[in-house]
């Protein structure tokens, strides 16, 4: 059997979480100042990371080949 305090705690958690979720939904409409939408901005970060790794690879290989 669950204690009464457990269910009370869970109800409080659920209420707090619902409040957070509704706030997040409201925020979802706020566009970032770059790339128009959040998914596009996140994709831009990942593409940037990939390009940076490629740059580091070329940089390292170039100077290693000179040795």
């Amino acid at each position: 059997l669950r204690k009464p305090t457990d269910s009370l705690k869970q109800t409080e958690n659920d209420a707090a979480a619902r409040a957070i979720e509704s706030a997040m939904e409201a925020d979802a409409g706020e566009a970032p100042p770059l790339f128009y939408t959040w998914p596009r901005l996140y994709a831009a970060v990942l593409i940037y990371l990939g390009l940076f790794v490629v740059f580091l690879y070329i940089f390292t290989e170039y100077y290693q080949d000179l040795r």
């Binding site: 705690k9 869970q10 997040m24 996140y42 970060v45 990942l46």
Partner: protein, 574 residues
């Protein structure tokens, strides 16, 4: 330092501190003192977050690390952009909308009070140790400039940091960080240009890069997988991502920064700014350290970069003929080896410019051999220092860049660089977050819940003083830990994995309740300690181990206890 340097130094620090304190003069509430009334723009928060990690330790530690070990430390940051993206769509909106002052307050909302306290205590221990290392960095600077022992300069640095942080609050910290970031970038750029200008006229930038490459310093990426290799692509991407997730998602010193944002968008953008700028900034800083190394191929570097220790050794040898003979032999060997390395480097550059094959005596392989001879000769000097100092370990990685700055920078610029280092906003931000967590998570929650706001602000100021002294005591041991930038991240990695694990449980596993999370946290921390003690796995992996063990232990306990019947977080997996 010249009088001009002193004027620039005092004026720069005075202006920065005065401006920060002026901006926060009316903060008499918890929200004001600890969260800047949630009024900060994203670019200021973003620069402040970067400045926290890029202050004295960056100048002193990262450049020294590059001098000794090349560019490979850059891989440490490869996981950071990934972590920023993950945090942007997970914890940032939750923290922001839950209106919490500390990250651990959220854990009580989600789990229970004991999990919050445990996480808060883990944070206080690890950040307290980390701030000690951060404090040691400006102490090294003062030690070099003034020629005083590190013990004295640690005490001075602690006193300055406390005096500056206590009246200011988070707003002062953030605004001074912004100025400091500008100073840092300017200072590093100045160092890079100075290093290039000091090269002999016949050595171009391209030649300098070539020499660095020939000596294995341009090793920016390594795709080979090895658990024990401290920095490779995999440890950086995976271990570094876990470390960054924990650092930016669970460490109050970072969370508190983006909680000061006007909205979730501002908080997210501050992290995205880091995702874009951190890697190129670190690349540039490490490249500057490498250029200092190349510069010292043509300029005689000191055998011992720590002047205080070099002076002590000279005094010891003056009083002891046996030590004197060994000292003179070590210096002679070192100078001969450096001269030979210089000759080989010059010949190599000459052949390269002439487009001819380098003669056998000056091939890249010979340059490497000459460099190893320099390192061996330097090792003799270091051994002598340790033997004449009761066997205490000697590591002067953190002195390389400062020796370069104080020896070769033009008057005025030295003062500016030292000001940037001594601004020590990193420690002020960390002291502020330690005080915040101590007061909000422990004092206000468990000892005095109903006092007026002013009381808590006063308590936070007292806590700031306490943590400043705590950091000072730990900083006294900083010199024995080698490279500061490595030491500070190794200390963090001992604790961050388990902290991250408990937050993963909070966000990703709604059925897990307080007891399971608490037990998972403890088990995870034990697992990290055992891993560090019993294995040779590189420290970046501790973050992965800790996180995974906390999650698994939490899930197992939760299953054994029957779990919850409803998801605690709507949108989570029920």
């Amino acid at each position: 330092m010249t009088p001009l340097d002193w004027i620039v130094l005092v004026a720069s620090i005075g202006l920065m501190v005065g401006y920060g304190v002026y901006k926060s003069r009316r903060d008499q509430t918890i929200q004001g003192y600890m969260l800047a009334d949630r009024s900060m723009p994203w670019w200021a928060m973003g620069l402040s977050i970067m400045a926290t990690q890029a202050t004295a330790i960056t100048f002193v530690g990262t450049t020294g690390q590059a001098y000794m070990d090349g560019m490979r430390f850059l891989q440490f940051y490869l996981g950071l952009p990934l972590a920023m993206v993950i945090l942007c769509f997970t914890v940032v909106p939750y923290f922001h909308r839950a209106k919490v002052v500390t990250a651990y307050e959220f854990l009580e909302q989600r789990f229970d009070a004991k999990t919050r306290v445990a996480a808060s205590i883990i944070f206080l221990i690890q950040r307290g140790l980390g701030v000690g290392l951060a404090l040691y960095a400006p102490a090294v600077v003062l030690s070099i400039i003034l020629g005083w022992s590190e013990q004295i300069t640690v005490l001075i640095s602690a006193a300055v940091a406390i005096a500056y942080t206590v009246p200011g609050g988070i707003k002062a910290v953030t605004w001074t960080d912004v100025q400091q970031m500008i100073l840092i970038v300017g200072g590093i750029a100045g160092a890079f240009v100075t290093a290039l200008l000091l090269l002999p006229p016949e050595v171009s930038v391209s030649d300098a890069f070539f020499l660095a490459g020939a000596l294995g310093k341009m090793n920016a990426i390594d795709f080979s997988f090895d658990w024990q290799n401290r920095y490779n692509f995999w440890s950086g991407l995976i271990g570094g991502m876990f470390l960054a997730l924990a650092y930016f998602g669970c460490d109050q010193s970072q969370v508190q920064r983006y909680l000061t944002g006007k909205s979730v968008t501002h908080s997210r953008m501050s992290l995205i700014l880091n995702a874009f700028l951190k890697l190129p900034l670190q690349f540039f800083i490490l490249l500057t350290g490498v250029m200092v190394f190349v510069c010292f191929l043509f300029i005689q570097p000191p055998m011992l970069f720590n002047r205080v220790e070099a002076h002590r050794l000279a005094e010891t040898s003056a009083a002891n003929p046996t030590v004197a003979a060994e000292y003179q032999a070590a210096v002679r060997n070192y100078e001969d080896a450096v001269a030979r390395r210089r000759r080989v480097a010059e010949q190599l550059v000459e052949s390269r410019r002439a487009g001819t094959e380098a003669p056998a005596a000056s091939s890249p392989r010979q340059l490497m051999a000459a460099h190893q001879a320099v390192e061996t000769a330097r090792r003799e000097g270091i051994d002598l220092v340790q033997r004449t100092n009761e066997g205490r370990p000697y590591d002067d990685t953190n002195y390389v860049f400062l020796t370069f700055v104080t020896s070769y920078f033009p008057p005025g610029l030295i003062g500016l660089i030292i000001a940037a280092i001594l601004a020590a906003s990193a420690i002020s931000a960390e002291l502020n977050s330690l005080a915040t967590s101590s007061v909000v998570d422990l004092y206000k929650r468990h000892w005095k819940p109903d006092a007026p706001e002013r009381h808590y602000v006063s308590a936070a100021k007292v806590a700031t003083v306490f943590w400043g002294f705590y950091a000072g005591v730990f900083a006294l041991f900083g010199g024995r830990l080698g490279s500061l930038i490595e030491a500070v991240n190794m200390v963090g990695s001992l604790f961050y994995g388990s902290l991250l694990g408990v937050f993963v449980l909070a966000f990703g596993f709604p059925r897990v309740a307080g007891n399971a999370a608490f037990i998972g946290l403890i088990v995870g921390e034990i697992a990290i300690i055992l891993t560090s003690r019993l294995t040779n796995i590189s420290y970046l992996w501790y973050n992965v181990v800790g996180c995974v063990v906390v999650v698994l232990a939490g899930l197992l306990v939760s299953l054994a206890a029957g779990g919850r019947t409803k998801p605690a977080i709507p949108g989570g997996r029920a």
